[in-house]
Assembly symmetry: C2
Homo-oligomer: 361 residues x 2
Amino acid sequence: MNVMNTRYQIPDTRYHKEMIKNDLFLRALKGETVERPPVWLMRQAGRYLPEFIALRDQYDFFTRCQTPELASEITVQPIRRYGMDAAILFSDILVVPQAMDIEVIMKENTGPFIPKPIRSQKDVDAIQIPDVNIELGYVMEAIKMTKEMLNDDIPLIGFAGSPWTILCYVVQGQGSKSYDIAKGFCFEHPAAAHMLLQKITDTTIAYLKAKVAAGVNAVQVFDSWGGMLSPVDYQEFSWKYINQIIEALKDDAPVIAFGKGCWFALEEMSKSNASALGVDWTITPKMARQLTGGNITLQGNFDPSRLLSPPAVIKKMVTEMIDEFGKDKLVANLGHGILPNIPLDNAKAFVDAVKEYQVKN
Amino acid sequence: MNVMNTRYQIPDTRYHKEMIKNDLFLRALKGETVERPPVWLMRQAGRYLPEFIALRDQYDFFTRCQTPELASEITVQPIRRYGMDAAILFSDILVVPQAMDIEVIMKENTGPFIPKPIRSQKDVDAIQIPDVNIELGYVMEAIKMTKEMLNDDIPLIGFAGSPWTILCYVVQGQGSKSYDIAKGFCFEHPAAAHMLLQKITDTTIAYLKAKVAAGVNAVQVFDSWGGMLSPVDYQEFSWKYINQIIEALKDDAPVIAFGKGCWFALEEMSKSNASALGVDWTITPKMARQLTGGNITLQGNFDPSRLLSPPAVIKKMVTEMIDEFGKDKLVANLGHGILPNIPLDNAKAFVDAVKEYQVKN
């Protein structure tokens, strides 16, 4: 295959209707041969950017999510500064339970807080599946506004939390090291837990389909707390529902499934219809390729804390990472979200190292 | 080998001088064939026990650690109630930095707090290696007192934190989800980090040797935060120092190395002189055996939250766990510490299920 011509091939009619000028990211998701891996950073629209902080100091968390002008501006901030190969719509995974009429308060320093956590079958029974175009219409507006700002230069990613991760928050009531209350709920009341997971799944499928209809070019499902479960429980309480989402979305847009700490499920995940799997930094690229059989695109997996190394060290380590994964079927990224205390030059070193990547002779 | 006779064999002269009546645990650590696996629970002397709560309400955390009468009483509380096959001396991994003259405050609900965290080469230079028999003499007293109470019925385990895990606390200053400050310190100032790790290692070796001299029959190194590191960084900042401890202690007592989230290092760890490796619940027993080559004793790995299942479910799952590991070269345990909210009957179900384990025909 002629590498330089792949971007001009007939677009896959299943999805991405428009022609994106830099479609490196979408080609990598299709597993095509590329000149270098595409790059973006999880949480790239975030607190390490002074221009983000300036808006954060003016508007509270959900105002930023719910105001399309702010969400779209925040989304393109990192692109202006660093020129990543994909943008990801600024939002939060907890807008989904909010839309399901579960109150979520975002405390700026301690994270999310759910005043009335879900703890019983009765609580689960009371939850209604919302009309996402009404309850989350502000997200669709933000997507349209962002697409105009991006001018088809690069693709836009939309995201949602995995049903299990959403359950963790709405049952536990806040962030936790062990999510013991959430897990206890599943183990003591499995029927109620499964009903809750199904309601979240149905809402998430409708939400992601609406996002694709509004213009996102790919979707990512974040399973932040899947790694809290044993391999057997992960299949039952998390993967089963993520896979429903993949199956429902696969003809609409490429789906990236990211499970933090879910190395143990990679083999199973690689057999799904996901276009790519996100991996965290606790697995070597070699092992990740081995467990996934080498045929699916992987996304990751630089340790976010390693961006505290000097820029020259970062560049060397990024190059080694790509060498070890191989440049194809790879989306260069961090293994989790970028930390607030990362110097701007260090984030730049990461993006530049990927863009400057040259295959060794 | 005659299974029933192994407990009467000539004792290994390298260690455990006295004859322990129930030496199932020590035999499992030697990899001998046993009638059933031994059982104990990480944090078995802990907050799920009402008799522990009664003492906690009277004495603060470090008073409990530093008063031999209290530490020994707390150590034997779970043995009286459930009859585990090993006791573990009640203490805390942070007594080591305390002995190194780093102030540690234990906040009853939020965990440890270090008012003056280590953040520079100068801070590291100022740290002295203590005389553990003076600074931690209360631990040695507690060991002697506990040994008398146990009357050689079962072995006593002593423990320490891994140097990396201690670094995490003393640099970060408190518990953290990412230990980003601690990791950043290592990546920005590797020379200072290695000097700090070596000072902690030297202190820990002296401490564990003193504990063995005082009477413990085995030692466990807890690497609670090793799983925060990439496989490459784990070798450099954690395993290298744990292995120094194993090499220094191997002729004194059996060493168990437990690394939470360190599945990626199991193959390397299995080549060490550790007598056993602890594994958490995010790895299947089959995969754990595969990565460790099947020749080293493993300890684990029941999900602590799974003790919230009904007792009958617990018993079934424990039996399945032992079936999958195989009864030999196994110490049945949780994959991390027992949670404070576990019902007493559920903890009992776990211990009883191991004791009642029968090999299927």
